[in-house]
Symmetry: C2
Subunit: 334 residues, 2 copies
């Protein structure tokens, strides 16, 4: 910058003003400075600028994987969400700083905040970090979380109506004549817990003859869900439907069921949650509750920017939409 200043025969502070488009600088001088900067390929050092301005024009996006060591960032749900967030954030002229948090480091959130790397934080999925989020929210405002909205929770979430969505799934299965519906998922994660609640709620109000709630605790990776399902089939064949807590879990369940010689949906109906791209193309195609991720991403970013402006933006819940496909209805094509 001082180089440009010398070339233009002005002081560095004038160059700074010119580059920032300040109207204080005489037009002629400003044009000269801009031209010089372009010729010299000079660009403001954003690190120095960030330090001085105390803002980075960067949003941190964090994916806590507390519940799942094996779950790579390559998980389709995360990765779809990430794409939409990148779209929204770049559109607003901000950069996106991406982090994956593995569990062992338990101080991660306060550390991330204190490091001043970003102006705000978006967290995709509560994972098992609810209490860490609560604590952070007490003193740090520009933070928004994708996940389930728990009672008495003080941080800002955006997410789907998990309880309601799960109810719709179970009611759909019951209407289709299913009577022994198993829940496959790990309620240690808040979103899954809420889905499990909706599932129980619907079963409690189910017609007589419907079996009570049964849960198979399965983690969120394809492999662990597959194994959990196979083990369950081996020791207890009594079920005619599976509600997978996520699409990845549901698709793994289908593989496990098929591998055990049963047919989906003839012997067992399977429904998932998310509507990832694969769901529409799997064989059989997967019935699932759709979460509107593009919209969710937009709301996340909107709320965050409102919080950056000092507003105390509230949580938001979106309705999920049941997408009925082959896995819970027609005979499979295979």
């Amino acid at each position: 910058m001082s180089d440009i200043a010398k070339l233009a025969g002005v002081h560095a502070s004038t160059v700074s003003r010119a580059l920032a488009g300040s109207p204080l600088v005489a037009k002629k001088k400003r044009d000269l400075i801009l031209k010089l900067a372009r010729e010299q390929g000079y660009v403001v050092n954003s690190i120095a600028s960030n330090l001085r301005l105390r803002r980075t024009r960067t949003i941190s996006v964090v994916i806590p994987l507390g519940h799942e060591t094996g779950q790579a960032l390559s998980d389709p749900f995360f990765v779809e969400m990430l794409g939409h967030l990148a779209d929204e954030i770049t559109q607003r002229g901000y950069g996106m700083f991406l982090q994956k948090i593995l569990p062992p480091m338990d101080d991660w959130l306060p550390r991330l905040i204190a490091s001043h790397r970003a102006d705000g934080i978006i967290i995709i999925g509560q994972s098992t970090e609810h209490s860490a989020l609560e604590e952070a929210a007490a003193s740090y405002r520009p933070m928004v979380v994708w996940g389930g909205h728990l009672e008495h929770q003080s941080y800002c979430t955006v997410g789907t109506d998990n309880v309601g969505g799960a109810r719709v799934v179970v009611e759909h299965l019951i209407r289709s004549g299913r009577r022994r519906i198993v829940f496959l998922g790990d309620p240690a994660v808040p979103e899954i817990k809420l889905r499990h609640e909706g599932y129980k709620y619907a079963l409690d109000r189910a017609p007589r003859g419907t079996a009570a709630a049964r849960i198979v605790p399965a983690h969120m990776t394809a492999d662990t869900a597959y194994e959990a399902m196979r083990a369950f089939i081996k020791e207890d064949g009594q079920f005619d439907a599976v509600f997978g807590a996520t699409d990845i879990i549901a698709l793994s369940a289908i593989r496990a069921i098929t591998a055990s010689g049963l047919n989906v949906p003839k012997d067992v109906a399977v429904v998932g949650f998310d509507d990832i791209a694969l769901a529409a193309h799997f064989n059989p195609t997967l019935t699932t509750m759709r979460q509107d991720l593009p919209r969710g991403a937009r709301i996340l970013v909107d709320l965050l920017f409102r919080r950056l402006d000092g507003e105390d933006a509230p949580s938001a819940t979106m309705q999920a939409e049941l997408i009925v496909r082959e896995s819970s209805t027609a005979a499979s094509r295979r």
Copy 2:
């Protein structure tokens, strides 16, 4: 930091040393400082640290979308690659700064470099930015590009053997008895151009009776590829195979062909390139050349770090693997 210094009764420079784990600081004093920092929730301001150290421990990952305005970051190929890169980069203790570049800004690369936001740059896909990359590479070393390796190219690429892969695809189709093979894709993008070359090469050496090369220029989004295919079918039904330059293009072609009342693979065989997750689950399942993205991501990051260390790491080419599925062989299940 000066707060901690006061509390510990030492100078800020001693705190800095202690926090950096310098052996110069007396163990007792260091422990005290560390304890104090933890209690106070103090974390080094990374912006200030970055400025002073002139390095950011951050890698910029850029997706230029010069060739395709409509192509969102949500494109499965990009997004899969992104996930793997995030894994590799975080594993090395670096952060990942994500940017999407839309075409109108033509100065983006030098600007990004000069902004000093990151220590190195990974670019996913050359798009139509070959010359911008050439120019930047002349003076900036820590840059690695995923894409096709062109002749006389001075920047460092990692990618698949596109020419060879395309040859294998065409030879497979010819072996399966196909004689009128259409190439669907836009050779303005280097990788696509190379695939098109492999396609032509194989056709030139094909048995008599095989029709000459024909190209349908289709962009890389699902919708434009679909429209291009439909238009082609309407005006010229003479073909029995389609080589889609990417899986997204190939899958769109299948939809278009099916929508036109033809059957894949009975009437028309379709092969893609990439092996995105959808390919294995589409109906019919898609024959395609697999690019090993996890490995590609690892190599990209490896080469970049070697370049950060001053080494002049060379380009790398990986072999692609033909994955034969239903779309080019058995009768479809539908």
